[in-house]
């Protein structure tokens, strides 16, 4: 069961760095043809300072910086393996994500909403994050809706 009093909960601030190897393998595993995600020289040719990280890893960054998937889900409910999914993402990009760059992440649970879905009751837990460089320069802002199925 998900507590509606979770709204306003501050998440543990943390940091995370996506290594060049992970950006490369992510591009391979998602069959992304853009080689700026694999090679520094291709990224530089596109005007970036170094190998880039695909924006599709943006949620991974914030989750890992704030203690990982298990901690995020157990914060919501200890019954999450019965059914939970990423329901939505909203991202405003301020700067490229560069591999090997330490990213600082702060976040909180913004809202908890209970709904009746087509397959029964579900709860939507919205997390909001800000991501900056170690110098405080903004990289992106992200909101993520985690959908938890079932419950009382």
């Amino acid at each position: 069961m998900v507590g509606t009093d979770l709204a306003g909960t501050e998440l543990p601030a943390g940091e995370f760095e996506v290594g060049g190897w992970k950006a490369h393998l992510w591009a391979d595993a998602t069959r992304n043809d853009e080689d700026a995600f694999r090679y520094e020289e291709d990224a530089k040719a596109a005007g970036a300072p170094g190998q880039l990280v695909p924006y599709s890893l943006c949620h991974h960054v914030v989750v890992e910086a704030t203690d990982g998937v298990d901690a995020m889900m157990n914060r919501i409910t200890d019954e999450w393996t019965d059914g939970a999914a990423l329901g939505g993402l909203r991202v405003d990009v301020h700067a490229p994500i560069e591999s090997g760059t330490t990213l600082q992440v702060e976040g909180h649970i913004d809202a908890v909403e209970e709904k009746e879905g087509e397959s029964g009751r579900l709860t939507i837990v919205t997390h909001a994050y800000t991501v900056t460089t170690a110098d405080g320069d903004p990289v992106y802002d992200l909101e993520a809706d985690i959908v938890v199925m079932g419950g009382d």
Binding site: K22, P54, V69, T81, G88, V91, V93
Partner: protein
């Protein structure tokens, strides 16, 4: 692709054929996601799934790719939102479509409506993406 090449209604597409279970296992490892249906076929079968379950961020990646491929640089993506509607499984084929909704001649920004569809037309993910394109 140049800004002036894009007008309302234009479509960019990308099809990813036969999603591979081995890729899904690698994706689960990269994301450090312990949810078993992403890497364990027995658990996926227990849940009535036809195969391994793909990760939402991987589906997001497919949906962004037709736009990323046409940008001068991947860094020209400005914002995006995605709503995840249906699960995607191994061996399925998905097609991402990005349709130009609006163009802003002052900022060279283009807003796309985006969707990732399965072969039967089911929309797995949809949303919007904004990106900037050069004049020349």
């Amino acid at each position: 692709m140049r800004f002036e090449d894009l007008t309302s209604g234009d479509e960019l597409t990308r099809t990813v054929d036969d999603l591979r279970g081995e890729d899904m296992k690698l994706i689960a490892a990269l994301l450090e996601d312990p949810y078993p249906p992403h890497y364990d076929r027995r658990r996926a079968d227990d849940l009535g799934f036809p195969g391994l379950l793909n990760q939402g961020p991987a589906n997001l990646s497919y949906m962004l790719q037709p736009i990323i491929a046409e940008l001068d640089a991947p860094t020209n993506l400005e914002s995006f939102d995605a709503r995840f509607h249906e699960m995607v499984f191994e061996d399925e084929t998905v097609t991402a479509t990005a349709t130009v909704h609006e163009t802003d001649w002052e900022t060279n920004t283009v807003e796309f409506g985006v969707a990732l569809r399965k072969e039967d037309g089911t929309v797995a993910v949809d949303g919007t993406v904004t990106a900037t394109f050069p004049d020349e």
